[in-house]
């Protein structure tokens, strides 16, 4: 019984997701197809669909199979994202609404756009990717992702039911009445792992500096961003649990949305497929390394993990703060 109600609650917002993200994909296909149809006589019978690394056309397709393949690709991809979205925590689903629609916009503009610009060409092998199409794609991706993010607000959070207090065996910490508790820790990779990351990014920066000059900015920025993201502060107090690095908030869980906490252990690749802020089936995690993690069981059924040292101590603090504010 409990699982059913939990599942239903955690899928709140999925209808809106399907309507907005699915609707955007259908509209993209419709607009692309109508634009092509309006210039059908000028479009070559065989169109260029793929360009090699040197800029030369290396794949072509008949124009009617292009229309069909593109429609199937865009709609199929959206359906696939929809299946993933069903099981994500609500904030992950919101993020996927933006990224899925952004991907649809990118593919739609690049495919329909490059074929539309081939209107009037006699030899598809002479087709080039116009810079205008690329600029249009980038602009539309940003606009679409922002719009779909706004169109999929977070549902009201599920809070602990009145009377749903901690199980008596949950680990807590001894405190005096009226004592203020705060736990401060770090979610970061082990020092040696951070060192290796630093060396890799420094080497990449040096290599591209020697090879090309200004492109060295890319590995430098990527390295700085990775290091900043992977060294986050974890604060637990009366306001709940907060994970942030350099002013960027990654996770915030108010105490009222937590049912209980415990010390756990995670394997980044097996459990989350990588590092950073990750989402999975009814779970999410701020993952920085293998091993100890704080596990928060949330009222909506989501399991939230945070990589930290002394996870047992942190869990005891969460449980103590929870026990102090019974909801009944």
């Amino acid at each position: 019984m409990t699982t059913t109600s939990t599942d239903r609650r955690s899928r709140k917002g999925m209808g809106r997701w399907a309507l907005t993200v699915g609707g955007f994909a259908v509209a993209s296909v419709a607009i692309g197809t109508v634009l092509l149809a309006s210039r059908w006589s000028q479009i070559p019978a065989i169109v260029a669909t793929h360009w090699g690394p040197g800029g030369g056309v290396d794949a072509t397709m008949s124009r009617s199979s292009f229309v069909l393949t593109t429609a199937l690709l865009l709609l199929g991809l959206t359906a696939f994202f929809g299946l993933i979205a069903r099981n994500l925590p609500s904030d992950g689903r919101r993020l996927l609404a933006a990224t899925a629609s952004g991907t649809t916009a990118l593919i739609a503009v690049l495919t329909y756009g490059t074929v539309l610009t081939q209107a009037g060409l006699s030899d598809p092998y002479k087709a080039v990717i116009s810079a205008r199409v690329i600029v249009a794609a980038v602009v539309l991706v940003v606009v679409t992702a922002t719009a779909l993010w706004r169109l999929n607000p977070l549902p009201p959070p599920a809070v602990r039911a009145p009377g749903a207090n901690l199980s008596t065996d949950a680990r807590t910490t001894d405190t005096a009445l009226g004592e203020r508790l705060a736990w401060v820790g770090r979610a970061a990779p082990a020092g040696w792992a951070m060192g290796i990351l630093g060396i890799i990014f420094a080497a990449a920066t040096a290599a591209s500096w020697v090879a090309g000059g200004w492109t060295a900015v890319i590995p430098l920025a990527a390295g700085a961003l990775t290091v900043v993201m992977l060294s986050a502060r974890v604060v637990i107090n009366d306001n709940g649990i907060r994970v942030a690095s350099a002013g960027i908030p990654w996770l915030r869980v108010p105490l009222d949305e937590v049912r209980g906490a415990s010390g756990s252990s995670i394997n980044p690749f097996v459990d989350f497929g990588g590092f950073g802020m990750r989402y999975g089936r009814s779970k999410r995690g701020f993952v920085t390394r293998k091993g100890e993690a704080l596990l928060l069981e949330q009222a909506d059924g989501t399991k939230t993990y945070v990589s930290i040292n002394h996870a047992d101590q942190a869990a005891a603090v969460v449980n103590t703060l929870l026990r102090r504010r019974p909801r009944d």
Binding site: T173, W183, V184, G185, V235
Partner: protein, 117 residues
């Protein structure tokens, strides 16, 4: 790391913050080489003034428990609360006891002098 303060306690807050660190040193939750969280983070988490935390860290430095370096923050250099820390607790207890007995400060100081001769 866990910080605990009790607003109702007679002990100043900076001493309570220092006591939280000492307690975790003695419980083995903190070891030599560990870094204490930045004072700003702790101040935000406990909702107290930044200077209160800095004062606590300075107290721990004076006791030889942490090393304060610009840019590196507070690093644990000793794990056993020093005699100085023990002394502070004893003085605190003494002052409380004197207050409870209604004994004036001058009288307490006279008693200490008498004891040490």
């Amino acid at each position: 790391m866990l910080f605990r303060i009790d607003a109702l306690s007679r002990q100043p807050i900076f001493e309570q913050v220092a006591a939280s660190v000492r307690r975790q040193l003695s419980e083995g939750e903190l070891a030599v080489g560990d870094r204490l969280p930045p004072a700003k983070e702790v101040a935000g988490a406990l909702q107290v003034n930044l200077h209160t935390i800095l004062r606590a860290y300075q107290l721990l430095r004076d006791e030889g428990l942490v090393d304060l370096r610009r840019g590196r923050g507070a690093v644990v250099v000793g794990t056993n609360p020093t005699a100085l820390a023990g002394l502070r607790d004893a003085v605190h207890a003494l002052v409380s006891a004197a207050a409870a007995a209604g004994m004036p400060q001058a009288e307490v100081i006279r008693l200490i002098k008498e004891e040490s001769t």
